[in-house]
């Protein structure tokens, strides 16, 4: 199969962060390539370079054997590369037809050509099996229809290479099937398709070949027919690095935080957390595994009081925290730290100093109208010493610190508040090995103090070594809770993709923690 597009030695850095390191990748004509990788592994960056949003720092792109320069979305369009973004780029107040016409350039965009364009659009739609009303306004369309329109738009502009960034994230199962039918039609027309997705079952279903990225590097590609979900998970998560993470055994106390039947919606209004049940006990670290976007963020935000819940109960030490403002929940002893993908967006004020960030949650406790910076500075210095934060001074803006130190500041502040439930999401995101271990040690120390920890993580090896139990989520649903001492990465991988569900399956499989069958244990567990 000849290559439609070939990338050679592509590098892209953002500041000191290498998003893509020396990537070689090719897509054949009439091939569906799935691009797989964890969050932050550089998939979207790579595709943005193909579609002209970013320029590579070095490396070259070849199309049909000739080197091309893609320095704007227009030039990508001219070369026949079209991208369907995760967030749709449509004009809500325009009809479907007008949305296609505005991107067509001067000639086809004029009103005189409207009928010709309409015909072209309808022909293209018929060819690929789209069902679309060209006069419908975008604001009247459900999500799946908007996506159809986006794809149709790209096809109408003559794209031969179509990139889809997590197209299935917003679709139902049936809609996904329909989308895949369209993709197969495109393939038979000789188009090349690159699809970014986290869902392994879909990868197995639709793709011809799978390319895997990890930490910005190209790991390799495998033919879909010759691989399995298991192998892909391994490729994606990375081979086992043999490093000993200690897991101190602490006597577990009573459940501190109990979540019952919790349902939460995401920003788009879709169900993100679907009827989850679990609890965290003191002196226990409960890992949360799941493919990115399975509802982890919404779960954390719901517990911290930052996101309203649809239904369910959240009980902290016998008292319901549903509907409490974030401040109240904090005072109750639940502390949440979430490291988002940009690492600074939530939890820290990047332009403010370490001192100012230290007091973010308790500046109000000081008496009078003034902020107590004197003791804040001492606290900051204490945290800097204790966690070995590398910084010129306590007054350095957090933005100037390196990633590991930023995360230590955040975690240091959360611990300083003396919580009894610590929720931490991706605390080692983007950190090197040493800084990561430092963070694990900090968490272990908290555990020894009898704090209940909810650890939302990415790296399964780490979670298996560090957490006492691992709870697996898939599409917002609980797939089960396993004892990390008695389970395998493969099982967790299967649960992450939804292939295995052990909730309420008692004792049949090795490694099921009793907590999986929480219903039976409720009376006993809830004191």
């Amino acid at each position: 199969m000849s290559a439609a597009i070939e990338l050679k030695g592509i590098c892209k850095n953002f500041g000191s962060v290498a998003a893509n390191k020396n990537i070689d990748l090719s897509v054949g004509k009439g091939e569906i390539l799935a691009l797989l990788g964890e969050n932050g592994s550089g998939k979207t960056t790579l595709m943005n370079m193909l579609s002209g949003i970013y320029m590579p720092d070095s490396g070259s792109i070849f199309m049909d054997g000739k080197e091309v320069k893609i320095n704007s979305p227009e030039s990508a369009g001219k070369l026949g590369i079209g991208m369907v973004h995760q967030h749709f780029k449509l004009v809500e107040r325009f009809t479907a037809l007008d949305n296609i016409r505005i991107g067509m350039g001067k000639e086809a965009g004029t009103i005189f050509k409207k009928d010709t364009t309409r015909k072209e659009v309808l022909d293209t739609a018929a060819k690929f099996g789209f069902n679309i009303d060209p006069d419908k306004y975008v604001y009247n369309m459900p999500v799946s229809e908007k996506q159809t329109l986006e794809i149709l738009k790209v096809l109408c502009y003559g794209a031969k290479i179509i990139i889809l960034d997590e197209p299935t994230a917003v679709l139902t199962v049936q809609e996904v099937e329909r989308l895949f039918d369209v993709l197969r039609k495109m393939k038979s027309e000789g188009h090349s398709v690159v699809i970014i997705t986290h869902k392994l079952n879909e990868v197995m279903d639709i793709s011809d070949r799978v390319a895997v990225l990890r930490h910005g590097e190209y790991v390799g590609s495998v033919e879909t027919k010759k691989t399995s979900e298991k192998e892909l998970t391994e490729l994606m998560v990375g081979r086992k690095i043999d490093l000993n993470i200690t897991r101190p055994i602490v006597e577990k106390t009573h459940p501190l935080l109990e979540i019952r039947d919790l349902t939460v919606k995401n920003d788009e209004g879709a169900i993100a957390v679907d009827g989850m049940n679990f609890y965290i006990r003191g002196g226990e670290m409960l890992g949360v595994a799941g493919i990115a976007g399975s509802g982890q963020k919404e779960l954390c935000e719901a517990i911290a009081g930052l996101r309203p819940i649809e239904k369910g109960q959240m009980i902290h030490e016998g008292e319901s925290i549903v509907g409490m403002p974030p401040k109240k929940i904090l005072e109750h002893g639940i502390s949440m730290s979430f490291i988002p993908e940009d690492r600074l967006g939530m939890g820290l004020a990047p332009s403010l100093s370490i001192t100012d960030n230290m007091i973010l949650k308790n500046y109000n406790e000081a008496k009078g109208i003034f902020v107590d910076r004197k003791s804040a500075r001492q606290e900051a210095q204490k945290t800097i010493d204790k966690l070995e934060i590398v910084t010129p001074s306590t007054e350095t803006p957090v933005r100037r610190l390196s990633g590991g130190n930023v995360q230590k500041v955040l975690l240091g502040r959360e611990i300083k508040a003396g919580p009894n439930v610590l929720i931490t999401a991706y605390p080692v995101r983007g950190l090197d090995i040493n800084s990561s271990y430092m963070i694990y040690d900090i968490l272990n120390e908290q555990k020894k103090k009898g704090v209940g920890i909810l650890f939302v993580g990415e790296d399964l090896d780490v979670m298996l070594a560090l957490c006492d139990k691992i709870m697996v989520m898939c599409h917002g649903k609980l797939q089960g809770v396993v004892n990390s001492g008695h389970t395998t990465k493969e099982d967790i991988g299967l649960m992450m993709t939804g292939a295995l569900n052990i909730v309420n399956k008692e004792g049949k499989t090795d490694g099921i923690a009793k907590d999986s069958a929480i219903e039976e244990k409720k009376e006993e567990g809830h004191v």
């Binding site: 590579p56 320095n71 704007s72 974030p326 332009s351 973010l360 003034f370 910076r373």
Partner: protein, 366 residues
């Protein structure tokens, strides 16, 4: 096809900043010199007069200082107030409108004050001005918090509403219109009674107006407010990352409302002081403080001491340009405005060059 793009400079160097500013100002003065030479004026003479504000060899030098302070005080308070809102990333560009409504309300008090003592009338005037402007600011903030309206558009449009309101008052002869001078045939604004005019401390011939003292006290208060109080801390957190502020349990909406009220009320206060100093109202009472204040706040990078210094420099520039222009028959105050514009523009350009660099697209960035 543009092969170049802008990259923010990673490092910050005060030396580069000063060099950029100096070069920028020199270029603008050079352009000004060309224009002046074209008009047959010796540019060196002109610039000398401008920088000394006509102080040297002037028997009425104290008048110059008084004139300078009349420009300085409202601009200082307005710039501080705008800086307060900008620090929270609330784009209050309605300084002009807030100033004008404040002025109108101060005049309402002044024209109806009867024979109350000076301290009472002036206080009432400032209070009326602050409150009216504050309420306008609060309304814009409330719409922003409640419906997420665009505060830039809202405040901008209010500028014009207020401008036309004061024009209407100034040109409508009617029995109800107490703003106008009753003795004049043509509609012109009346003068305030003496008990509504700003007083001051006499130092020889020079009068130090109380408004100057008020402005300096306000500067100190705002400095302390932003740097040391909880509310000031909240403003910086909300401005830096409102997601973080929410996460920390702050009531972001309340903070926005409060800060915008203070910002607009301060502009109102500036207006009250300026109106009492002028002893009358007019549509040019603002002296463009609402616009210039935006430039001052940004040039000073929102730092209070820097705003103080920048305001002083810009006031000298404004007053000096005017003072120099009056000496030459060939030019008038419009030339002063032109020169001022050129200088401000080049300073902004210098700031830009100091912050960004132009890099080749796709090239190695280091």
């Amino acid at each position: 096809m543009s092969d170049f793009h802008l990259v923010r400079r990673a490092d910050f160097s005060i030396r580069r900043l000063i060099i950029c500013y100096a070069v920028g100002i020199l270029i603008s003065l050079g352009i000004g010199a060309l224009l002046l030479s074209g008009l047959g004026i010796n540019p060196f003479e002109y610039y000398k007069r401008m920088l000394t504000m006509g102080l040297i060899g002037n028997r009425y030098a104290y008048k110059c200082i008084e004139g300078l302070l009349k420009i300085f005080v409202p601009l200082l308070i307005t710039s501080l107030a705008l800086g307060l809102a900008f620090k929270m990333r609330f784009w209050n560009i309605g300084g002009e409108g807030e100033f004008l409504i404040g002025s109108i309300c101060a005049a309402i008090v002044a024209f109806n004050s009867g024979s109350m003592p000076k301290i009472v009338t002036i206080t009432l005037m400032c209070l009326a001005a602050s409150l009216s402007a504050g309420i306008i600011g609060l309304a814009v903030a409330a719409l922003k918090v409640r419906f997420n309206t665009n505060e830039t558009l809202m405040t901008l449009m209010l500028n014009y509403i207020m401008l036309y309101l004061i024009r209407y008052l100034g040109s409508t002869k009617a029995p109800w219109n107490f703003f106008l001078n009753p003795e004049s045939e043509r509609p012109i604004f009346g003068q305030f009674a003496d008990n509504c005019k700003m007083g001051g401390i006499k130092i020889g011939n020079f009068t130090l107006l109380y408004s100057v003292i008020a402005a300096i006290i306000i500067t100190v208060i705002i400095y302390v407010y932003l740097k040391y109080t909880k509310q000031g801390y909240e403003i910086s957190v909300v401005g830096d990352s409102s997601a973080t502020a929410k996460y920390a349990g702050m009531k972001v909406g309340k903070i926005v409302l409060r800060t915008m009220f203070i910002s607009a009320a301060l502009i109102g206060l500036a207006s009250g002081l300026a109106t009492a100093t002028a002893g009358t109202i007019s549509e040019s009472i603002t002296n463009n403080a609402g616009w210039t204040g935006i430039i001052v706040a940004w040039l000073a990078k929102l730092s209070v001491p820097a705003i103080f210094v920048t305001t002083l420099l810009i006031s000298v520039l404004q007053y000096g340009c005017q003072a120099a222009a009056t000496q030459y028959p060939a030019i008038d105050s419009n030339f002063a405005d032109l020169l001022q514009g050129i200088i401000l523009f080049s300073v902004l350009a210098a700031d830009f060059v100091a912050t960004f660099k132009i890099a080749r697209k796709g090239g190695q960035e280091k």
